[in-house]
């Protein structure tokens, strides 16, 4: 019974996402149905989470019927508008013959196994990782128990702040609470199961974006590499929100990249919305948004893109900010700040030279050791450095610089945060050890995508047809 309720909650999310896409997203090309489903999931989760958040400010207690009433209204509008064509989505067509090699089918099997394994591990245990229960799960439990967003807890009580960071955005706790309302109880394992869908989502988005350009065998092998990055496998079933963040941010960057390539404005809007939802997922989303904006700016300055550059920069800057603005206002009104930074930023400028001298070697040391740990990353970062050097000598596709800008700027941003982090060296070391995996995993799919772009020359459909790129 619980399982049916869970499926119903996921189904409601998918339908909502589908309706929103149907109403507002009209790309020039025909997207595959699988991609539409994944997009519907991403948009639907965003809508369900934010809907729960905003409805909790009304005087009515949250429950399934109340939450579904708005989605039902959306459904009625959509059916009224589209009538018979509501469930009809233009099929994508392809004139190419797809041939799978037996070896690729083997890799496909492994990808399927990894997906099954992630779902199985997620459902086998309750939240086991600190942030999963201390931060996201705890807040979701409170929202479900109180049937509203208990503002008082966020502003007055000191007891809550130890497990939960109050300044973290709330999309995921509200989405988990949304699932709990359908289940009628707090159930960690189902919340983790829900989070595992993001793993599936990341692989799917990666697949569809590579498939646009490359031979299917190369695409599946690349997806195999993504699906078996040990750190991603480690985090995907735990209920950590890195997977949700990667799904939104990487997805957003992929669609903006697609806009750069295909000049279709709907991809730009979709990408920007994904980035906005990524900002609602974790604080790191904010830094990734800044990084993306700076990278877009650099791309506009350094390359002839043949697009409306102003539109790109305005969309990347303002659409995510507009989506995220309610949380910024909320934080400002209730004075929520990152605890660590609240007190000591004033001394920063004075101490900066000392901090730089003292901390840079430590940060470098830990970062490089972590990147070279094959048990955590396989040969991803080794491959990335190698490909980067190759790219700088002989770039296959110069636009791939977009990913290099994002990755390098994000690493610089992480360095800056570690350098100004107001703790002593001993505690900083512990903090870096605890967090560096998660910071690197945010950019890992982008690094792999970049590698695929550079190494995939031999498997490029255009190259194989002999056309000039």
């Amino acid at each position: 019974m619980l399982f049916l309720r869970f499926i119903f909650s996921i189904f409601s999310i998918l339908i909502t996402g589908y309706i929103i896409l149907k109403l507002f997203f009209h790309p020039k090309e025909r997207l595959p149905f699988g991609e539409i489903i994944i997009l519907a999931f991403g948009i639907g989760v965003g809508f369900a989470g934010l809907e729960t958040l905003f409805l909790s400010f009304t005087k009515y207690p949250l429950n399934t019927g109340y939450l579904l009433s708005f989605q039902f209204m959306l459904l009625v509008i959509a059916i009224f508008k589209f009538k018979k064509s509501f469930f009809y989505w233009k099929k994508s067509y392809t004139d190419e013959k797809v041939t799978y090699s037996p070896l690729t089918l083997f890799f496909l099997l492994i990808i399927l196994w990894e997906i099954i394994y992630i779902f199985l591990e997620a459902f086998s245990l309750p939240f086991t990782a600190w942030d999963a229960w201390g931060n996201w799960g705890f807040k979701a439990k409170i929202i479900f128990s109180e049937k509203t967003f208990p503002l008082k807890l966020w502003t007055e009580l000191p007891w809550i702040k130890h497990p939960a960071h109050l300044d973290y955005p709330l999309l995921i706790p509200f989405t988990e609470a949304y699932i709990y309302f359908f289940l009628g109880q707090v159930h960690d394992a189902f919340a983790k199961l829900f989070c595992s869908f993001y793993y599936l989502g990341i692989i799917s988005l990666f697949y569809y974006h590579l498939k646009k350009r490359f031979n299917i065998n190369f695409v599946l092998v690349s997806c195999f590499c993504l699906a078996t990055i040990p750190n991603i496998l480690m985090m995907a079933p735990t209920g950590y929100m890195e997977m949700a963040l990667i799904f939104y941010i990487t997805g957003g960057i992929f669609y903006i990249w697609r806009y750069l390539e295909e000049k279709d404005i709907s991809f730009l809007s979709l990408g920007s919305i994904f980035i906005g939802l990524g900002m609602w997922t974790k604080n790191e989303g904010f830094s990734l948004w800044l990084t993306l904006f700076l990278s877009s700016l650099l791309m506009c300055l350094l390359f002839r893109l043949n697009i409306d550059k102003k539109r790109l920069l305005i969309s990347v800057l303002f659409i995510p900010l507009l989506i995220f603005s309610p949380w910024i206002i909320f934080k400002y009104i209730f004075g929520l700040k990152a605890e660590f930074f609240a007190s000591s930023l004033q001394n920063l400028v004075k101490d900066l030279p000392i901090l730089l001298r003292e901390r840079m070697p430590l940060i470098f040391n830990i970062l490089i050791k972590n990147c070279l740990d094959f048990k955590k990353w396989n040969i991803l970062w080794f491959g990335f450095v190698f490909t980067l050097i190759w790219f700088l000598i002989k770039p296959y596709k110069k636009l791939s610089m977009f990913f290099i800008f994002i990755i390098i700027l994000q690493i610089i941003f992480d360095f800056v945060i570690y350098i100004i982090w107001p703790v002593n060296l001993f505690e900083l070391e512990l903090h870096i050890f605890n967090s560096v995996d998660r910071l690197l995993v945010d950019i890992a799919p982008l690094a792999l995508f970049f590698i695929c772009q550079q190494l995939g020359k031999r498997f490029d459909k255009n190259y194989m047809k002999g056309s000039k790129i």
């Binding site: 086991t128 799960g137 439990k141 007891w159 130890h162 394992a189 396989n378």
Partner: protein, 141 residues
């Protein structure tokens, strides 16, 4: 010119195959470990109830939390302490104490759990938990 192009293409292919072999070498070790744990453990425990899963994870600490739930009414404010107090930073005891201190609000909500340093004088109850007791479950991280 043609020969040079072919040479580049082959080099590209060889590189990809080499990288893939290394990738597979590391991945397959991991996948065999996954298969082992999935069939040995996860398939068996995924059908358990949530309570049984909590007990698997937190062992006697979960039972202790259930006991505290029974004894303290909802909405009550409680100080939660671990004994021995103030273990040395980054020792196993310190990590255990931090875990129990952080985990208790999750289990005991809607009871409000305070750390000693945040406590106010009005709080009348306190819970003390002995971290030396072997209380972790099989799957605690």
């Amino acid at each position: 010119m043609k020969t040079k192009k072919m040479y580049i293409i082959d080099r590209n292919k060889v590189l990809i195959i080499m990288a893939l072999i290394i990738w597979c070498f590391f991945s397959f070790r991991m996948i065999t470990a996954q298969l082992k744990i999935a069939f040995k453990t996860y398939f068996k425990i995924c059908a358990l109830t949530l309570e049984q899963k909590y007990r698997l994870m937190d062992g006697r600490f979960y039972d202790f939390m259930q006991f505290c739930k029974e004894k303290n009414p909802e909405g009550d404010s409680i100080i939660f302490k671990c004994a021995p107090i103030d273990p040395e930073f980054r020792t196993q005891q310190w990590f255990s104490a931090e875990y129990f201190l952080g985990r208790s609000p999750y289990y005991l909500y809607p009871r409000k759990i305070f750390r000693e340093k945040d406590a106010t004088p009005e709080i009348k109850h306190q819970i003390v938990y002995d971290i030396n007791a072997n209380t972790f479950g099989l799957y605690s991280r």
